[in-house]
Subunit: 164 residues, 2 copies
């Protein structure tokens, strides 16, 4: 197998959207920044999130059984840093941004490019991480044609400009 | 659950890198364009690929048990279209681009931003798709600081410019 440092260097070249993944319920409100989110199938509507099992919030996500994926626009780069560890306490993280809920009660970011409200249908451990398979119950999006993308260890703002 | 059209509309707003996923072996040489690729964990080095089980090549990937993920730079947009169905026959697809191999024998694109040479360790069916969990045996990358990104149903070229 490739060594971990080489794996990380290679992975830094796979561009990815930046997302804030949130939950709320009996086990409390939590959120973290994640780039390892991807679409699985439209039949039935399913996405997945990879989560480090050593994160403090891991058990809370498992217990609540619901989550939201909030895909960030370029203007929310500061929020990404906050939820990536810039703020340690959840109350401090959620003090920034405007939040609402859809059907599961997971925090939905009003400024998100798009948000997915999900029920966790299955969790699968792979090494240090868990893959959370999620049924998408609802989705909401804004008209902002801009994405925040992480690539080569830096943030980039991608703007969808209609061709002339 | 959200309906499939709404799910697809929402998913078009999740920016993603564009990759050509390839295999070779007893079941033949195959390749297709995929955006649903993500890092799972560095411990042990693992990535995943989501693949529609109705693709002709699906059984060949399963039988060969190996694959490569070739992450495209902006300059390979034409290759993306070809492997997304622009060319139906595999021989026609692989006639474009320069290919070599690493340890598994899966086709590695010389111009790729980064390539991951993998052994499929597990396959998990989810609805119409399968999630292929892959151990990363080797990785190779170029110095081209440019990524091809799919966002809002269009291609975008993301360039990593060092800050002034």
């Amino acid at each position: 197998m490739v060594d971990q440092m080489r794996f990380r260097e290679a992975m830094s070249r796979l561009a990815a959207a930046v997302n804030i993944v949130t939950t709320d319920g009996a086990a409390g409100r939590h959120g973290f920044t994640a780039s390892a989110v991807c679409s699985v199938t439209a039949d039935p509507p399913t996405l997945l999130v990879c989560m480090n099992r050593s994160l403090r919030a891991y058990e809370s996500f498992a217990q609540n059984g619901v989550l939201a994926v909030n895909v960030l626009p370029g203007s929310d780069q500061d929020l990404s840093a906050l939820f990536a560890g810039g703020a340690r306490e959840m109350v401090e993280r959620f003090a920034s941004g405007k939040w609402r809920t859809l059907s599961t009660g997971s925090p939905i970011l009003e400024s998100a490019a798009v948000s997915f409200d999900c029920r966790i249908s299955e969790m699968k451990d792979v090494g240090s991480h868990a893959v959370l398979f999620c049924e998408v119950l609802d989705a909401a999006w804004s008209t902002v044609p801009e994405a925040l993308v992480y690539f080569r260890r830096g943030y980039h703002h991608l703007i969808d400009q209609p061709e002339a």
